[in-house]
């Protein structure tokens, strides 16, 4: 009987090793370990042997059973792995086919640039303010120290709705609208549409600005320089050169224009910068005390700065857009590029 048990071990192990799929393996399991299987048969037959032999044979039979069981488990792992491989192979896809992308929309480049500008000033602690497109001359000009018949009005070719009412020529009227509402501190940025009677290859009758205004005690021109230099470095890159040049705006004094090193030629001189190496991107200055008088602010106690960025120009520079006309034509072949 002992021989019989040993023989069974080798036959069984051989058979298990030969199984080629999970079904055959299951058959083998049933054949040897099942309720009517050969090992079960032997264990049952132990009642026939002598009590002396029974434990020895029983132990031997159990060992064989465990060995077969282990072999089956091992074989199952192998066969499982093979089966998975086959399944995977049959499910393989053409990795080169394009995926199903969610349909992509595009934000208009003007708003992308405006948002990027605003984000930088939000971090510094500015909040957004807004005002109407149709403005009174009081807010658009007079309260900004641009009286009627002031030559500065020449550079503001103005659309009139009726006498005294205009399409705002800049976002600066919002300065006064904000200052009228509250005493300092005030720290706002004002994005918005502005209008001028000017339409050619480099002018659009409607365009966009972002205005900034900071009024508090002790705000200095050095702060203005620092703020705008930080802005330029964040927006155009830290290697961009910045220069402040004296200029004139009726509502700021001292006033400055800010140039950055040409983004096309890096300051070497090219067509875009008219060989100067510099590009003008904004106007700024310390708020003129006459403006504070209109706002009812204490001109001794408070100082502050204001600046105005041309969003269109900045968008055109950043994205190398050749003509301002593209911006508002809304040709899908343009809009979808950004």
């Amino acid at each position: 009987m002992k021989e019989q048990i040993e023989a069974l071990r080798s036959t069984a192990l051989e058979e298990v090793a030969k199984t080629s799929d999970l079904r055959a393996l299951e058959d083998a399991r049933v054949k040897y370990l099942g309720r009517k299987g050969k090992i079960t048969e032997i264990l049952r037959g132990l009642s026939q042997v002598s009590p002396e032999e029974r434990p020895v044979l029983g132990q031997a039979a159990n060992k064989v059973r465990d060995a077969i069981s282990d072999a089956i488990d091992a074989r199952k792992e192998v066969l499982d792995a093979e089966a998975e491989q086959q399944k995977a192979a049959s499910e393989a896809v053409d990795l080169t086919l394009p995926g199903r992308r969610p349909r992509k929309g595009h934000m208009h480049v003007i708003n992308q640039v405006t948002d990027d500008i605003l984000e930088i000033f939000f971090e510094l602690g500015f909040q957004v303010a807004a005002g109407p497109d149709v403005e009174t001359e009081y807010y658009n000009f007079e309260s900004l120290n641009i009286p009627a018949d002031h030559p500065a009005r020449d550079s503001h070719d103005t659309f009139f709705v009726k006498p005294g009412v205009v399409l705002r020529t800049h976002t600066s009227p919002v300065q006064m609208r904000v200052m009228e509402k509250t005493q300092p501190p005030v720290a706002v940025v004002v994005p918005g549409r502005v209008y001028r009677v000017d339409y050619d290859a480099s002018h659009s009758p409607m365009f966009n600005q972002v205005e900034g205004l900071l009024v508090d005690e002790g705000v200095t021109f050095a702060d203005l320089k620092g703020t705008l230099m930080m802005f330029v470095h964040r927006f155009f890159g830290k290697d961009t050169q910045v220069r402040f040049r004296p200029s004139f705006f009726p509502f700021t004094e001292p006033s400055a224009e800010v140039d950055i090193s040409c983004t096309v030629c890096q300051g070497k001189g090219c067509r875009v910068c008219k060989n100067s190496g510099w590009l003008e991107i904004l106007g700024c200055g310390m708020v003129n005390p006459k403006v504070y008088e209109y706002a009812g602010y204490d001109t001794e106690k408070y100082t502050g700065y204001a600046f105005g960025l041309g969003v269109d120009r900045i968008a055109m520079l950043r994205h190398a857009i050749s003509s301002i006309g593209h911006l508002y034509e809304n040709d899908m072949r343009f809009v979808e590029q950004f």
């Binding site: 349909r103 004139f248 008219k274 040709d331």
Partner: protein, 798 residues
């Protein structure tokens, strides 16, 4: 303004390169926009002297000259000009010389005779338009000298941009003052050496100022027996460099002195002035005069004119009149130098649409003292260049003295404002160098008298700017402010709008950004009703198509769709967030409403290898509107409505509470036709203000149900006209408190559903928060629903 560097050097020493000077001036606020070198292309043009002129044997129109350029042998040059004679000095381009326009002189034969160069006209050297003959040089310049240097063609021209506050910069002396201040040099003002005759000017003419509010100062001079002739070459060169055309010595001198001093002058023909006298007065209503440009101009009562005893002879400070113009027959001249009120000049200049060198300077504020120097300088030149006898004395009427401004500068305030410690002495020195005069000072401040040419200076900050400017903006400190924020929120909904914009983009819509202009015709074409024709109208629109501000976004969206269809784009899913405007009776400013416009056309998705194509329909647009409402946490109902732009039956008004917040629908065929679009288009317009201000509550947590739901499907056949929303409402209303969700999962028409009917399939979810529902409970609720549907909608169970 064009500034000739050679000319500028007559007033101030300049010992740095043109580029460096341009940079320094730019950093001082006098922006040099471009640097031009008119003679840069010219080489090898020398001073030559014509020795002989012989006829060309084979050509009537040509002559053969021998010209000495200081070399051993004179050059033989064939020439077509006629104005020269032997002994004349002319600019001579030798073989290999280069002229403007890339023109190179070669050795060549002209009708068989060799020509070894070319003698040049003014035009050939890029010096103006004169091509009637050779440019004959004045005097006896050294033979063989570089004609380019002699003629000033080595000059550098700065294109200068002058800010509106600095009229004083618009002249050579003004620029020279700035250069002098920057480099610590002195300005050389040309000395006046004229001699006056014994005849008093007051015996020949008089000046009466009727309206001193518009003309605070008027100075006249009478010059007798002038010889009108061309101006000398040096003066022509200056005028050409400045971009002007020489005319005759008298006119040129007034222009020259204007460019030199910044002070506009006007020369009248003395004999053409009625009673030979001047009256400065407002125009009479409807008075007409012809200005020098030949235009007949009707004057208004608030315009100032320079009249003689009867007629206006000039629009004051802007342009002279044709009747008293100096011409070749002029013998006697009345010269004017005045100070006009800037605002008046600007107003008149705008009303007449006439901007001149003079008006631009007067409207920025002239220098009332320079008026005296300028008229004397001009008289001096007219004597030297035109032999004028200068009548004795100025006719100087100065009824309204222009005040000299005194301004105090507190050193500490200066440093506080600019955030940089500039020593007191440096502050004072900057102002003194700029021509300010210190009138008094104490420990902490000094008071300065502003130069008469600086009408822009009236406040302390003006002085601070001067200090900062001369100190150099680049040298000022840099710091970051501690930004303190106001407690007030100025644009509470702005962030939400930006968020909405991003969400719409994320959902696959592309943003467009249109001009807000519109016109009544577009409103009509869109089929919008008369209320939309009530628009904000511009008084000075760029064109008829942009005559108003938009009252709706729909016309603009349609125009844009039309544009894109015309350019081969078939699929569009676009939106715009922006204002629409509506006039408000009795108010200056219109109502400005923030709108969201959406337009869909073409396919729902981009083409993909795995999915079928589908065209957009009403529900694509409605879904997008619903997503927007979800974004704002708002519910709305969509009611059928007749709305001009839309096709009936696919046209809805969107209502929240009892407020109309917009419209959506399918564009009606006639509107499509009007915009030349041959495909289906869906458009929605939503008013965002009520949604933004609607107040959105934070979502409140609902306990997650502990007991399983009980799910049931229900399919009923009803008349096709039954609105599904009504059906679903009835299901909700009759499902009891445990009915938590009703979802529509199918609508079916066609076999076996009878014609005129539709099958509506709903899935219902019942759930209780307290226990597991029994089948009996759920069934009971279902039975009640079915009974209701049967009675209310004649529904049949499928």
């Amino acid at each position: 303004m064009r500034v000739s560097l050679n000319w500028l050097k007559e007033y101030v020493d300049i010992d740095i390169s043109a580029e460096e000077l341009a940079h320094q001036l730019t950093m001082l606020g006098l922006e040099i926009e471009a640097i031009e070198r008119p003679g840069a292309e010219i080489s090898d043009v020398y001073v030559g002297k014509i020795l002989s002129i012989d006829p060309h044997p084979d050509a009537d129109k040509l002559v053969v000259c021998k010209t000495d350029i200081g070399k051993a042998e004179p050059l033989q040059i064939v020439c077509g000009a006629k104005n020269m004679k032997p002994g004349d000095y002319v600019p001579t381009a030798v073989v290999g010389a280069k002229l403007p326009g890339g023109f190179e002189i070669g050795r060549r034969k002209m009708r068989g005779i060799e020509s070894q160069g070319m003698m040049c006209s003014a035009r050939e050297l890029g010096m103006g338009e004169d091509h009637t003959g050779l440019l004959i040089l004045e005097g006896e310049p050294p033979l063989g000298a570089d004609a380019k240097t002699l003629l000033g063609l080595d000059d550098v021209i700065f294109e200068v941009s002058i800010t509106p506050n600095r009229g004083d910069w618009a002249c050579m002396i003004g620029v020279a003052r700035e250069v002098a201040a920057l480099f610590g040099k002195t300005v050389r003002i040309p000395a006046i050496t004229m001699t006056e005759s014994t005849t008093p000017a007051s015996s020949l003419s008089s000046v009466t100022i009727v309206d001193p509010d518009l003309c605070p100062r008027y100075i006249g001079r009478v010059l007798k027996n002038v010889t009108i002739k061309p101006s000398p070459e040096w003066m022509c060169r200056c005028l050409i460099a400045a971009g002007q055309r020489p005319i005759n010595n008298i006119v040129d001198i007034t222009n020259y002195v204007l460019l030199e001093t910044g002070h506009p002058l006007h020369a009248f023909d003395y004999d053409k002035l009625g009673e030979n006298r001047i009256v400065v007065r407002r125009a009479k209503p409807g008075e007409i005069m012809t200005t020098l440009d030949g235009e007949k101009r009707t004057l208004a009562e608030d315009m100032l004119v320079i009249a003689d005893a009867k007629e206006p002879q000039a629009v004051a400070g802007i342009m002279g009149g044709g009747d008293s113009e100096v011409d070749e027959n002029t013998k006697n001249v009345f010269l004017e130098s005045a100070y006009f009120t800037p605002a008046s000049i600007r107003r008149t200049s705008r009303q007449l649409g006439l901007a001149t060198e003079a008006s631009q300077r007067f409207q920025r504020g002239a220098d009332p003292e320079m008026a005296v120097y300028a008229i004397n300088r001009a008289a001096d030149l007219m004597q030297k260049l035109g032999g004028a006898e200068i009548a004795q004395g100025l006719l100087d009427e100065y009824p309204n003295r222009i005040p000299v401004r005194e301004v105090r500068l507190r050193y500490a305030r200066c440093n506080l404002l600019i955030g940089t410690d500039i020593p007191e002495e440096t502050q004072r020195d900057a102002l003194l160098r700029l021509g300010f005069e210190r009138v008094k000072s104490d420990d902490e401040s000094a008071t300065f008298k502003a130069p008469t040419w600086r009408p822009d200076v009236s406040m302390e900050v003006d002085l601070i700017e001067e200090v900062a400017r001369l100190y150099g903006y680049d040298n000022l400190r840099v710091s970051l402010p501690q930004v303190r924020q106001s407690e007030m929120v100025f644009a509470p909904y702005e962030a939400k709008v930006r968020q909405l914009r991003r969400q719409l983009v994320d959902q696959g819509l592309t943003e467009i950004y249109q001009w807000t202009f519109s016109c009544p015709e577009d409103v009509q074409r869109t089929g919008l009703d008369a209320s939309y024709m009530n628009m904000v109208t511009l008084q000075n629109p760029l064109s008829e198509k942009q005559a108003t501000l938009r009252s709706s976004m729909i016309p603009g969206l349609m125009n844009n769709a039309s544009y894109n269809v015309n350019h081969g784009v078939a699929d569009m899913a676009v939106f715009e967030i922006g204002p629409v405007y509506r006039p408000v009776d009795g108010a200056d400013q219109p109502e400005q409403r923030l709108c969201l416009g959406m337009l869909l056309m073409g396919r729902t998705e981009e083409k993909h290898w795995s999915s079928p194509q589908r065209s957009v329909d009403f529900y694509d647009l409605k879904g997008r509107v619903e997503a927007v409402l979800d974004f704002f946490g708002q519910d709305a109902v969509f009611n059928g409505v007749k709305f001009g732009p839309f096709q009936h039956g696919q046209s809805a008004v969107i209502v929240t509470g009892n407020q109309t917040i917009g419209y959506l629908g399918k564009i009606a065929p006639p509107v499509l036709k009007a915009f030349d679009i041959a495909q289906t288009v869906y458009v929605a317009e939503l008013y965002l203000d009520p949604l933004l201000s609607g107040g959105q509550q934070a979502n409140q947590f609902q306990e997650i149900p502990a007991f399983p739901p009980s799910l049931r499907d229900l399919a009923v056949v009803v008349n096709a006209s039954v609105p599904v929303a009504d059906l679903m409402k009835a299901v909700y209303d009759n499902g009891g408190k445990n009915l938590k969700q009703v979802n529509l999962f199918d609508i079916y028409t066609g076999e076996p559903v009878p014609k005129g009917k539709k099958s509506v399939a709903l899935s219902l979810m019942f759930q209780s928060g307290e226990r597991t529902l029994t089948d009996e409970e759920t069934q009971k609720a279902m039975d009640k629903i079915v009974r209701k549907l049967q009675t209310a909608f004649e529904a049949e169970l499928r």
